[in-house]
């Protein structure tokens, strides 16, 4: 069966407003991290998700806490869309004891397993086998859950892409592979690095449905994800969705982005912007009023400001935290 033959469920106004809120949360959160990072307050390095909001939110709007996602080094957006706490996330990025991972993971490893968020991941291609295993686990434990693997165009050339998708396909697992093709793996263009016209074309090699959607069109992502998630929940196996998108910032903060043209950036930040377009969609379909959206904007601004204040005021981890959480149970000198 083709993915497009699955029945579509209409988007409710309530769901639509939730999606808008999550998209604005991601944008505001990332713009804030961008600003703060430039002051030197945030340790290490960060990879920002701004510009790609439609993908994380369009997909995660079909998931709940029993569903799993694996993420990438550019994981803040996936965390927010999957329901991670903004304060805990911001504190984690600051390396504080109150962070979701007690400051031990940082930007590239934010996780909240209780929300089904199996971690941002510093290894490109790390998510394919993990999502497959989470799908296997959901299937064997009969939870009804699915697993979503978010990955970038860079990862689509990694060996684990093949091993993970092939395994999910032969075992008919409830896994959705979501490519975020933002055009560049670090600074290298997708077209240079990938010997395929689209990532979706590669699905044919695994006998699973693959489709390419405008990843900055929230509803296009929403509908494609709905088809794939329903398919997975019905026991019909994995799907691959390629979302063509764009990152507003560089690969990491500090990237001069000389590989992008000013025209493409201008176009993506304005007429192609996912939030601007989704906002128009909501208004023209009477899912929300200007006032509704304005108040969401204001609430999000406040929530992100609160998250920053929480992170700044939080303590650093105590020294005794250095060697805890390595094992559940470990006696370094052996048993008595």
């Amino acid at each position: 069966m083709r993915v497009s033959e699955v029945q579509q469920e209409a988007l409710t106004a309530e769901k639509a407003k939730w999606m808008y809120q999550k998209m604005v949360e991601i944008r505001r959160f990332e713009d804030q991290v961008h600003e703060t990072f430039s002051t030197g307050t945030i340790p290490g390095f960060v990879h920002l998700y701004a510009g790609e909001e439609a993908v994380a939110v369009g997909v995660c709007s079909h998931l709940d806490d029993k569903d799993y996602i694996t993420s990438t080094h550019r994981g803040h957006g996936h965390c927010i869309a999957k329901g991670c706490d903004l304060k805990g996330m911001m504190a984690e990025i600051y390396g504080k004891a109150t962070g979701l991972c007690k400051g031990k993971g940082g930007s590239m490893h934010i996780a909240d397993v209780s929300k089904g968020m199996l971690g941002a991941n510093g290894i490109v291609g790390g998510g394919f086998p993990l999502a497959t295993g989470a799908g296997l686990s959901a299937k064997l434990r009969k939870t009804g859950g699915v697993a979503v693997c978010f990955f970038g165009d860079g990862a689509n050339n990694h060996g684990t892409f093949h091993e993970g998708i092939n395994q999910a396909a032969i075992w008919n697992l409830p896994v959705i592979f979501v490519a975020e093709n933002n055009g560049y793996g670090e600074s290298t263009p997708f077209e240079y690095a990938s010997s395929c016209k689209s990532i979706a074309d590669r699905a044919a090699g695994y006998n699973i449905p693959g489709e390419t959607v405008d990843g900055k069109d929230t509803m296009a992502v929403y509908e494609a994800a709905q088809r794939a998630v329903e398919r997975a929940r019905n026991g019909e196996g994995p799907s691959l969705i390629e979302c063509v998108t764009y990152r507003n910032y560089g690969h990491f903060e500090g990237d001069a982005q000389t590989y992008k043209t000013s025209e493409e950036r201008e176009q993506h930040l304005n007429e192609l912007d996912a939030i601007i377009r989704f906002r128009e969609y909501l208004l023209s379909n009477n899912h929300a009023s200007e006032d509704d959206l304005h108040s969401i904007d204001e609430n999000v601004r406040e929530a992100v400001a609160d998250a920053v204040e929480f992170a700044e005021k939080s303590p650093m981890p105590e020294a005794d935290q250095l060697t805890t959480d390595v094992y559940v149970n470990y006696k370094p000198g052996g048993e008595e």
Binding site: Y68, T70, G99, L100, C101, K102, G103, K104, G105, H109, A111, D112, V113, S114, L118, G119, N121, G122, I123, G126, F128, P129, L130, A131, T132, G133, A134, L136, S137, A138, L140, R141, G159, T160, H162, E163, G164, N166, Q167, I170, W171, T324, D325, V326, Y327, V328, N329, Y330, K331, P332, G333, G334, E335, E336
Partner: protein
């Protein structure tokens, strides 16, 4: 006489015991059953593992729990990591430890680190069973002994049994453990028989075992080299030299006390490790004793290891590669002022 079964059968029993007790225990790996999806086989296995160690399990537990995988180690080892993180208790079989090159990221960067990176909000109750060791004429890519690599990685526990009884009790402990354990099985031990208790029993991970008591020197040996050390000890005994043979059984955590107490008693230490000589278990234990037991020593610490070379194919060369009782006796002669030792 008590029941004697092989090292391979002891491992098979350990898996069976734990799978009967806990439905979240699954086994996945290449050809762990074999012949998947073939009508004429049905739920019969074709192989039961390349060495037959997991033979018969699929008949009892079915193909949902005994999962044949593609020959794609990153795919299934990585899947086992997240299955563990999400409520299962998987056993992943890495056919040969040499294949770690194809899935090191899944072990080192994912499985070993998720718990720490997540601030303790995940556990990875995963066992990776893997075959190691030279002496099987399997050449350089199927004969290595790589437990040192894993011992160096925080977040991994490392177990290396030397007897069938230890293998069963330690494997049950490993499967029931809430941390990731890499469990090393020497391929030349599979057919070795020994006394093994029936039913469910555990041996704690991190507890060494004194395989032979003695007062004159300590030989710490790992895996099948325990047998080499015991053979050397027998020859030494004929000369009136009593060697104590200590089997650490796990390298991470390492039972430091048992090793140090033995050296305190004997004042002499030989370590036998068939891994290559640099950065291996022998150098690690040597550093431990140099640091915490220096005053106990009456002589330098000696190591008997493989040379700094890949494992050769030719039987003539492979026999030279491995530690032997004679190599142990040669170093003992440097520690004990008795020329007759070398001429045994």
């Amino acid at each position: 006489m008590a029941r004697q079964i092989s090292f391979a059968d002891a491992i098979n029993e350990a898996i069976k015991e734990t799978m009967r007790n806990d439905e979240n225990v699954i086994l996945l790996g290449e050809d762990v059953a074999g012949g998947a999806d073939l009508d004429h086989l049905g739920d019969e296995d074709a192989w039961g593992g390349v060495m037959g160690v997991t033979k018969g399990l699929v008949q009892e537990f079915g193909r949902d729990r005994i999962l044949d995988t593609p020959i794609a180690e990153a795919g299934y080892v990585g899947a086992a990591v997240s299955a563990a993180a999400t409520g299962m208790r998987p056993i992943a079989e890495l056919m040969f430890n040499d294949f770690i090159g194809s899935c090191l990221d899944e072990v080192m960067n994912q499985g070993a680190k998720l718990r720490y990176m997540f601030g303790g909000h995940a556990k990875i109750p995963l066992v990776i069973r893997t075959m190691h060791g030279a002496g099987f004429r399997a050449a350089a890519q199927h004969s290595q002994t790589l437990y040192g690599m894993f011992t160096a990685i925080p977040g991994v526990k490392v177990v290396v049994p030397s007897t069938p009884a230890d293998a069963k009790g330690l494997l049950i402990s490993a499967i029931e453990d809430d941390d990731m354990v890499v469990f090393f099985e020497d391929k030349t031990l599979y057919n070795v028989k020994g006394e093994v208790p029936e039913g469910h029993y555990t041996i704690p991970i991190g507890k060494a075992d004194i395989k032979r008591a003695g007062d004159d020197l300590t030989i710490v040996a790992i895996g099948k080299q325990v047998n080499t050390a015991l053979a050397a000890a027998e020859q030494l005994a004929q000369k009136g030299i009593e060697a104590e043979v200590v089997d650490p059984r796990s390298l991470s955590p390492l039972d430091e006390n048992t090793i140090l107490k033995s050296v305190q008693k004997t004042s002499r230490l030989v370590i036998v490790d068939e891994a290559n000589p640099r950065c291996n278990a022998a150098t690690d234990i040597s550093a431990l004793v140099a640091d915490k037991g220096f005053d106990y020593l009456d002589a330098p610490i000696k190591m008997v290891t493989a040379p700094h070379s890949p494992v050769p194919f030719s039987p003539a060369l492979e026999d030279l590669y491995l530690p032997t009782p004679e190599k142990i006796l040669a170093v003992v002669s440097e520690l004990i002022d008795d020329e007759s030792v070398v001429t045994i």
